[in-house]
């Protein structure tokens, strides 16, 4: 036990300041008030986008300190974060998950595949980007996008809207 405590003590606080502030959203979205619950849906990715979500979801980036949380059910979510090109076999599952997410909600396409099918575009087994299946509210480009980029985007989404 003392080794664990010692290690925690020596490690200190790992959380880094947010690297780059994200540009303002094109379409401001007023669903969050300083907190954002996200449900991730893999619609057929190569799994590197998931690796970056795991990298994001720990103390170095610490999204929870910004009020951003990954949740286990679409019922609890403000936003769906969709990765991968939408495969035909996942099309219905994606629609059903979106249907189970209460309104108002945001749909975010994360990674080049989710944006336009990426390297898998044109395959018989791929419907294309997320927008081919459900309306998309925001995009995070990259293959895969780095955790800093994802965080900057999500932070912008989680910010309370300025009300003039």
């Amino acid at each position: 036990m003392h080794k664990i405590l010692l290690k925690i003590f020596r490690t200190g606080n790992l959380t880094e300041p947010l690297p780059v502030p994200a540009p303002p959203l094109e379409k401001p979205c007023s669903l969050a008030r300083g907190s954002l619950s996200i449900r991730h849906v893999d619609a057929g990715s190569c799994n590197a986008c998931e690796l970056e979500l795991h990298a994001l979801n720990q103390s170095i980036y610490s999204p929870e300190t910004l009020g951003i949380r990954f949740v286990a059910s679409p019922r609890h979510a403000d936003a769906l974060l969709v990765t991968g090109p939408v495969t035909l076999a996942m099309k219905e599952a994606l629609k059903a998950t979106a249907g189970a997410t209460p309104n108002p909600r945001a749909i975010i396409a994360m990674g080049d595949c989710a944006i336009n099918g990426g390297v898998f575009r044109g395959s018989y087994a791929v419907a294309g980007g997320v927008a081919e299946v459900i309306a998309v509210d925001g995009q995070i480009p990259g293959c895969p996008p780095a955790p800093g980029q994802i965080l900057a985007f999500l932070e912008r989404l989680a910010l309370p809207e300025p009300h003039p």
């Binding site: 190569c46 590197a48 990298a55 018989y124 780095a146």
Partner: protein, 523 residues
């Protein structure tokens, strides 16, 4: 073993003059008939060979071909069975190698060729969404998408357990965590699992069709995105295949750098897994500490190779860029830092009673079964199997700097944790020696282009297990057809065997200890 025993025409799988010392030896036999094929495969089984992969190809106008790859002490053995374009059947070998079951079903779904004698009539990659097998013969225009537009919910026949108090739990394809989509069907009584069955194909992206008639540059980047966590292994196997097909020799320094990338990929994934395994057993501390070590690794990757996961760092002919002396020093320093960190955490893991209690005896994979099925990778080695291509078929630099096989005979989650710890240690020592003794020279040799219509194969020990890529090239370095095989094909069925008798709540932990790829499997 003498390949003549297996059938007619044993010949090297590569273009004559190929740099065979850089790739695992491979012989190809061409059985004349189904009966010859079956007796050849039977002989492979009797001589202790194991199944590596099985796939179809319909890349040129000639009759379709079924490939199956096996391994023995000598290297790879490739069967190339011509299929009658009229009858479109091939003999199933699942009664000899049970792991061929899903591979043959996948061939049936993709090409419409029937595996004769396969008792399992269920589809595997096809979810009832295709109007015809999607891999059309060359010359036939794939213009019309073979897809049902109406949504169709498939009725897959899971094997059910009946009896008092038995019920069924369906899980997926969308899971509660950040993981890939797949479906698991549990038959349980109380908290105890009686049977678990997998249903995959949700991430099927038609990669085989995307490879067809692709310029090499696009094909290699596609290969690196079949399973993102193994991008180096895939791109190395794919490059080996292209090099052996064209008779090109990558410079020695490039082989050295590739091995550095491969081991960095292994270490990064193992670090992530060890953290996640701690977390799944309720020890969040592990996740944070290992995550931090992994993040440091990824950032160095980004700095030196321009990508956190090393995508597109390996290219046919060599590697994308060289390492300077300053960078080599940085990498070596990082290795010793990570070594220290991992050692410290290993003591904490080993001494943590609660953690060991969750790991020990959980998810036991019988070493006898692992032996019978010839399982490699982390999973196979944690159940006593001595398969590691870096050790059994070392290509440069693994022939100079030897990597011992990390092995455990316990077969439980604890064993898979221990194998990962050992492998990190061995890889770090390997990296240190390799970085110290890098040969001089260039990091890239242009490919030989003076050839037409040749095949090549590459076989690499990735972090999860053996990755195999086969390519068929046409003129102008166009990829006519290619097949990449993920070790998950062979290991997913082993997971099914591991679950019965465990608690439902232990499934995530056991699944994590395997950490198999869905995308690499579904392709």
């Amino acid at each position: 073993m003498n390949p003549t025993e297996y059938g007619p025409g044993p010949e090297p799988c590569f273009t004559p003059g190929s740099p065979t010392k850089f790739v695992v030896p491979c012989s190809r036999v061409t059985p004349d008939s189904s009966a010859d094929y079956l007796s050849g495969v039977n002989r492979v089984l009797n001589r202790g060979g194991r199944l590596v992969s099985l796939w179809g190809s319909w890349a040129d106008e000639r009759a379709p071909v079924l490939f199956s790859a096996f391994s023995d002490a000598e290297g790879l053995l490739l069967f190339r069975l011509g299929i009658s374009a009229l009858e479109r059947t091939f003999p199933s070998i699942a009664f000899l190698f049970p792991l061929a079951n899903r591979l043959e079903r996948a061939v049936r779904d993709l090409y419409g060729w029937d595996p004769e004698g396969l008792p399992d009539p269920r589809p595997w990659l096809d979810h009832g969404l295709w109007t015809r097998p999607p891999m059309v013969p060359p010359g036939v225009s794939p213009a019309e998408r073979p897809v049902r537009e109406d949504s169709f919910s498939e009725d897959y026949r899971f094997v059910r357990v009946e009896g008092e108090g038995v019920h069924e739990i369906p899980v997926g394809p969308v899971h509660a965590g950040i993981i890939e989509p797949g479906h698991f069907r549990f038959q349980v009584v109380g908290e105890k699992v009686l049977r678990m069955e997998e249903r995959f194909g949700f991430t099927h992206k038609g990669v085989r069709s995307l490879f067809r008639n692709r310029p090499l540059g696009e094909a290699i980047s596609l290969a690196g995105r079949i399973s993102g966590d193994s991008t180096v292994a895939y791109q190395t196997a794919f490059s080996d295949a292209v090099e052996s097909a064209t008779g090109s020799v990558p410079p020695l320094r490039a082989r050295w750098i590739r091995s550095i990338l491969l081991e960095r990929e292994r270490i990064a994934n193992h670090l992530g897994d060890l953290g996640a395994l701690g977390n799944d057993a309720g020890f969040g501390f592990g996740q944070i500490q290992f995550g931090r070590l992994k993040e440091e690794f990824l950032r160095t990757n980004q700095q030196m190779f321009g990508h956190r996961y090393l995508m597109d760092a390996v290219i046919p002919g060599g590697v994308f860029r060289d390492l300077g002396p300053g960078e080599i020093t940085v990498l070596r320093k990082e290795c010793s830092r990570v070594k220290e960190g991992v050692l410290e955490l290993k003591t904490i893991y080993d001494e943590h009673g609660g953690l060991q209690d969750r790991f020990s005896g959980t998810g036991w994979l019988d070493p006898m079964l692992a032996g019978r099925w010839g399982l490699g990778g982390v999973v196979g080695r944690a159940s006593g199997q001595m398969y590691d291509l870096r050790h059994t078929h070392p290509v440069p630099p693994y022939d100079k700097v030897r990597v011992p096989v990390s092995i455990s005979r316990r077969g439980d989650v604890a064993a898979r944790v221990q194998v990962r710890f050992q492998e990190i240690r061995h890889s770090l020592s390997f990296l240190d020696s390799v970085l110290e003794s890098m040969p001089d020279g260039s990091f890239f040799n242009p490919l030989e282009e003076s050839f037409s219509g040749s095949e090549g194969i590459g076989w690499v020990e990735g972090w999860r297990g053996e990755v195999l890529c086969w390519v068929r090239l046409g003129t102008g370095l166009t990829v006519l057809d290619a097949h990449c095989h993920d070790p998950s094909w062979i290991l997913w069925p082993a997971l099914e065997q591991t679950i019965p008798g465990n608690l439902v709540a232990d499934f995530p932990l056991i699944n994590k200890s395997f950490n198999l790829s869905y995308s690499g499997h579904d392709l």
